[in-house]
């Protein structure tokens, strides 16, 4: 279980997180929604230690993540970045097998390659792409490779940062379905940040809405449409009128 209590983060004069309280139960798929620039990525990066919060605590199974041994802590996570964040200088299979070939339990290259090919197959890519470089792939294929890299070491927790941004609706549907399948199949704890409502409905067990630096609403996805929160309703229905100010 991941628990955030009173997490705050300020960049210059911009207070992005103003005391976030959130619980992500083990084995659940939580989707964090919210407008652009509301701090969703900062929240996710704070959990991973890529951004250091100014105040508040983040715990993983009761242990403060700021005091955890970094390698052991990060070994429990997989992450799909918004743009894929694939390493340009490495081939597709080397990207997928990156973690497998490093660290104390590093696998020999042939074994790591075999696992990478298996993970590529799992996300619907053929072995033909394994020796290509990321720049040779389409956006959708890069997302799949990123997904294969995120699951390669079979982590307990996977984070997905805007998994469908920049993809056409059909490819978005494919990626959403893949994420849901993988989360269920592996039994992992997942946190996805997105403002794509089709992703929310396809991926989420629970939903949390981040607005003005705090969690505005959280609950099961089944209750999202009937929840009385006006901020949530404005956001999920994409209305211009409502309590959330929109710049025209």
């Amino acid at each position: 279980m991941i628990e955030l209590r009173g997490v705050q983060k300020t960049f210059g004069a911009n207070q992005v997180l103003r005391g976030v309280n959130l619980i992500l139960p083990r084995g659940q798929s939580m989707v964090v929604i919210g407008g652009s620039g509301t701090g969703k990525s900062v929240l996710l990066k704070s959990i991973l230690g890529l951004v250091r919060p100014d105040a508040g605590t983040i715990t993983l199974d009761g242990q403060n993540v700021a005091k955890a041994e970094r390698d052991a802590f990060l070994a429990r996570f997989g992450m799909l970045f918004q743009g894929g964040a694939l390493f340009d200088s490495l081939t597709v299979w080397e990207n997928v097998a990156f973690r497998l070939m490093r660290g104390a339990q590093a696998l020999p290259p042939d074994q790591a390659r075999a696992i990478a090919l298996e993970k590529l197959r799992r996300v619907g890519l053929t072995p033909a792409v394994a020796d290509q470089f990321p720049a040779e792939l389409s956006g959708g294929m890069q997302k799949r490779v990123g997904l294969a890299r995120a699951i390669a070491a079979e982590p307990e927790i996977i984070f997905f940062d805007e998994p469908t941004t920049g993809l056409d609706p059909i490819m978005s549907g494919v990626i959403n379905a893949l994420i849901r399948e993988i989360v269920v199949e592996m039994g992992v704890t997942a946190m996805t940040i997105t403002h794509d409502m089709s992703s929310v409905r396809a991926i989420a067990d629970r939903v949390a809405m981040l607005h003005a630096g705090v969690i505005q609403w959280t609950g099961p996805v089944a209750e999202m449409d009937t929840a009385p929160d006006p901020y949530l309703q404005q956001f999920i229905h994409g209305r211009a009128e409502g309590p959330i100010e929109s710049v025209r």
Partner: protein, 260 residues
């Protein structure tokens, strides 16, 4: 403007510059600490050695060739004022080995390598590849910075040595084709006057310049701002900082090596 306002206007950039020096020093400290701690990324080191050393050879060689030739012409022309044309071989050799080889080689490598390292790492930062490295339990300093700094520190002295030879050859070519020197005499004078320390001091300078070039490229890449503008600014800052630091370090090393 009041006195305190004037002092504040002077103080702010001074404080900012000192803070910058502090940040670069801490970065250099982190790099040196990681140089001796495993894991070591041999593949990345080999790749960096090829990029920084081998692929810089043409530009360093051409720079040295033309500089050696021009130096021979200048020394001949200047020496003619007091009948000292015969010093051309020895001055070209000493000038290239001690000063022009390392400095021009360092500056050419700064232009070529610091810019490419800064642009590459800044792009990795902008596209979240550095964050991805961290989440994959890989220290970016060890994986990206240490191999490049080590490769540049080892490759640039060799480039300087090769550049010295090509520069001296440029002087020899001009000497025998344009200045009527006898080839054998030119080579004999060069060999007789050039001392081991002349060459060695230039190569030590090369090692220092290589360290500076890669360090500046990596530092400005790792600390770049967002977007294309951030990458551009990082690249420009890396080349400017590396070039200025090479010239400053050259003066300091020359003082240390040749004035005591």
């Amino acid at each position: 403007m009041t006195l305190t306002g004037s002092l504040a206007a002077i103080g702010r950039p001074v404080l900012a510059a000192l803070a910058g020096v502090g940040r670069v020093s801490m970065f250099a400290g982190a790099v040196l600490a990681n140089l001796v701690r495993p894991p070591f990324y041999f593949r990345e080191f080999g790749h960096a050695l090829l990029q920084i050393g081998w692929f810089s050879l043409p530009v360093v060689g051409l720079t040295a060739l033309f500089t050696g030739g021009a130096l021979a012409l200048q020394i001949y022309s200047g020496g003619a004022r007091f009948n000292a044309e015969s010093v051309v071989p020895s001055i070209v050799a000493i000038g290239m080995a001690r000063e022009l080889g390392p400095v021009l080689g360092g500056l050419m490598v700064a232009a070529r390598v610091a810019s490419s390292i800064a642009a590459e790492i800044a792009t990795m930062k902008v596209t979240e590849q550095i964050d991805a490295l961290v989440t994959l339990s890989t220290n970016p300093i060890k994986y990206l910075v240490v191999p490049r700094v080590l490769a540049a520190t080892l490759a640039v002295p060799i480039l300087v040595g090769v550049g010295d030879s090509i520069g001296i050859m440029g002087g020899w070519l001009v000497g025998i084709t344009r200045l009527d020197f006898n080839s054998a005499t030119y080579i004999k004078n060069t060999v007789n006057f050039l001392e081991t320390w002349d060459v060695l001091s230039g190569m030590i300078k090369g090692a220092a310049f290589g360290f500076i070039v890669a360090l500046m490229g990596c530092y400005f890449g790792m600390t770049s701002g967002r977007g294309a503008q951030g990458v551009g600014a990082a690249t420009k800052s890396a080349v400017v900082a590396a070039s200025v630091m090479i010239l400053a370090a050259n003066y300091i090393l020359t003082e240390v090596f040749f004035t005591s």
